[in-house]
């Protein structure tokens, strides 16, 4: 293996490390929406893990408020209930 190939391989293998936080946020949010398509989901902004999820947005809102009180920053994501056509 040449050094050039080795370094390229290392960089590709550690792709998550070269992504920006915002790119990781979009990727994780899309994955959460696909995993829980009928739920409102609150992610923890720092580590992008699921803090709460429910079909009831108000339940997630209460969980998000509790997370805020603990100093966490919730990310609220929700997949459109159906294919949406915007005409605005």
């Amino acid at each position: 293996m040449t050094d050039g190939y080795k370094w390229r391989s290392i960089i590709l293998d550690s792709g998550a490390d070269i992504m920006t936080y915002y790119q990781r946020l979009v990727q994780r949010a899309m994955a959460a929406m696909d995993q829980f398509p009928r739920s409102t989901v609150a992610l923890d902004a720092e580590n992008l893990t699921v803090l709460a999820r429910s079909r009831s947005a108000s339940k997630v809102a209460r969980s998000a408020q509790r997370a805020l009180a603990r100093g966490r920053t919730p990310v609220i994501v929700e997949k459109p209930r159906r294919e949406e056509t915007w005409i605005l």
């Binding site: 209460r62 920053t73 209930r81 949406e84």
Partner: protein
Amino acid sequence: MSPRVLSYPAVGDSPVLFVNILNPRTGRPQIFQMLVDTGASRTCLPATRADFLGHDNLDGRVKTTEVSGVGGKSTAFIHTLRFELVDPDGKIWRKLIPPWRSEVMPVLFVEKMETQAGILGRDILSQWKYVGFRPTPNTPQSAWMVELEL
């Protein structure tokens, strides 16, 4: 000082951004999906999002107004919020510095708004020097790149 250009991969197939939204009373941010909508004169959120931000639509002191859209007229509750952009270039959450922050501003929480994302209207967009969209067809997860200049 040269203007700062920010590029955001959109969330899905619409020009949707993640934006920090703060209740000015607590100063604590939450991140929401917001559609960049040059057709909307005012920034708004679904009425159901008021709970998340510590506001109460049923409080008798809350002012209301009527808004019109393609779907007809609706009541909107007026609450005050502050918005921040998320740094699109930072690598680590703890080190992110918001590149732009709004003043505390009135925001409409619309009763008959069935979308999951809020809407960033021209009251916010007009505070930036430029905003545009560029299609990125090879990345279906983010079908647009939203570019703005501060």
